[in-house]
């Protein structure tokens, strides 16, 4: 301890303090300040860049997911649209078919009714015609028959002959 105190040089201590404090202040202003700032800025820059890259990656992923979703939605929509269209088509066809059937049935029914009535009318007509014709023919025949008096007499005579036979 005594040796330590003996070795202690006040002058050296004095210069050391002056030099060290001066060095500290100078380095603080001209070296450590700018260096630490630069290091901090650089680290922050790197951190920001990494964050930005990470964000960009996430965004990309989101975008891709969105795209995928959109694509799937579009596909689903297309499918439903196609399905709907098909259904509509089928429905339209079946509807048309039904309507046509009904219409056709109706037409056929009408036609049949018309045919029936025509037929009846025709039959009535034919009956009338036939009656008329029969009457005319009968008339003509009767007229003809009755015009020949000898023959009539003969006939009556033959019939009377037959009747006597009976």
């Amino acid at each position: 301890m005594e040796k330590l105190i003996n070795d202690f040089s006040f002058g050296l201590f004095f210069w050391q303090m002056i030099l060290f404090v001066l060095l500290l202040l100078l380095l603080k202003k001209f070296a450590w300040g700018p260096i630490l700032n630069a290091l901090n800025t650089r680290e922050e820059g790197i951190k920001n860049a990494l964050d930005a890259a990470e964000n960009a990656k996430l965004e990309m992923q989101n975008l891709q997911a969105d795209n995928q979703k959109l694509l799937q939605e579009a596909r689903a929509e297309r499918e439903t649209m196609i399905k709907e269209a098909r259904e509509i088509k089928e429905k339209m066809i079946s509807d048309a078919k039904g309507e046509a059937q009904v219409e056709a049935d109706k037409l056929i029914a009408n036609a049949q009714a018309a045919i029936e009535s025509e037929k009846k009318a025709a039959i009535v007509e034919i009956k009338n015609q036939v009656a008329n014709l029969s009457i005319e023919i009968a008339e003509k025949v009767v007229k003809n028959e009755l015009a020949d008096k000898d023959k009539q007499l003969k006939l009556v005579e033959s019939m009377l002959n037959d009747a006597t036979l009976n």
């Binding site: 040089s9 050391q16 030099l19 070296a31 450590w32």
Partner: protein, 365 residues
């Protein structure tokens, strides 16, 4: 493959070294019996002692035979109670061999300290072998001061350059590439865990400065320049006192409460704990000071003793082995240089962390 190469390298080193020691041996044999050679151990001891102390001139090496010193003098600045400011070159001392005269005042060096004396350079010693002469206040630019100045300039050059390089873009160029991870380490592993995410920023300049200051000075201490700045109690005291001052000034109410009136313990315990905690406040920076000083000082002494042993052994096996040993210790010292800087910074951050720590009202310890 690797170990093969190492063995070869080691053999070459040992062979070269053995030749050197042989030559040294021959030189020594010529002077066998002279009193100079008998006191080789004394000389080594003296050399180590001289090395670990601060010095008023910068000597790279000395030639003991011709008595010549190779280096350069440094300015001596004294505050004499009677005659005020005295400034002269340390070359006047002639490495402590002569009395320096300045404006009619005489000064001499005694164990690397300047004492006021007369023209003959008499030193009056008391019974404890301490000089009784007047000691002027010594503000000299010593070797340590010069090394701190150089380290400061080097740090400013390196780190201001790094800051400038950061202005051009986010990627640093040059030496900054090496220092950037260390700065980040100090921030992420020392400051933030100990002080806390929200408050660490204020302390970063101090922590960085102290880390690199101690590390650089420790490394300079390992160069053959032979400077021992961080192994000097005045320097470590200065560093510790700054940590101490910053800690006390950042202390919040919670910090002082834990010192003077420890919450969550009975009143008699509070009274007992207060002086202990108060003592702890002073012991913490004291431990910082002693730890750094003792580690670096011990490292220098061990290393220099091992190098001295090379010359004591005077045979090629012993000297070579001590060479290998001193090489290994040098490697360890390189690690210690970094470790001590780390520990000092780490503990400073820890003390700042204690001072600014917030406890919620529900936290009762």
């Amino acid at each position: 493959m690797q170990s093969n190469y190492l063995v070869k390298l080691l053999t070459v080193v040992l062979l070269v070294f053995a030749v050197n020691v042989r030559a040294q041996n021959e030189v020594n044999e010529e002077h066998e019996g002279t009193p100079e050679e008998v006191s080789l151990k004394e000389k080594i001891k003296e050399s180590i002692h001289h090395h670990i102390l601060d010095s008023h001139d910068f000597t790279f090496f000395s030639d003991s035979k011709t008595g010549k010193h190779y280096g350069f003098p440094l300015p001596v600045i004294l505050w004499d109670n009677e005659d005020g400011l005295q400034m002269f070159s340390s070359s006047k001392f002639h490495h402590g061999e002569e009395v320096a005269e300045n404006n009619g005042n005489y000064y001499t060096l005694f164990h690397n300290k300047i004492y006021k004396t007369d023209a003959e350079g008499t030193i009056n010693l008391d019974e404890h072998h301490h000089p009784k002469n007047e000691k002027p206040l010594d503000f000299s630019i010593t070797k340590s001061v010069l090394m701190m100045l150089i380290t400061g300039l080097l740090m400013f050059w390196v780190f201001a350059g790094m800051a400038k390089s950061f202005k051009k873009g986010p990627i640093v160029t040059g030496a900054g590439r090496f220092f950037e991870p260390i700065i980040l380490y100090v921030r992420d592993e020392i400051a933030i865990p100990n002080i806390g995410e929200t408050k660490y920023k204020k302390y970063m300049p101090y922590l960085l400065t102290i880390f690199f200051f101690i590390w650089f000075l420790n490394l300079f201490g390992l160069t053959p320049l032979g400077v021992n700045v961080t192994g000097n109690i005045a320097v470590t005291f200065g560093l510790a006192i700054i940590t101490f001052i910053i800690t006390q000034f950042s202390g919040n109410a919670n910090y002082w409460k834990h010192i003077f009136w420890m919450p969550g313990v009975p009143v008699p315990m509070k009274i007992i704990l207060a002086p202990i905690e108060l003592l702890g406040v002073i012991i913490k920076p004291f431990a910082l000071m002693i730890r750094l000083y003792a580690n670096i000082m011990a490292g220098h002494i061990v290393l220099m003793s091992l190098i001295g042993l090379i010359f004591v052994f005077q045979n090629w096996i012993g000297s070579s082995l001590t060479f290998v040993l001193s090489f290994a210790i040098s490697m360890i010292e390189l690690l210690v240089a970094l470790l001590q800087a780390y520990i000092f910074t780490m503990l400073s951050a820890l003390y700042f962390g204690f001072a600014v720590e917030d406890h919620g009202p529900e936290d009762d310890h």
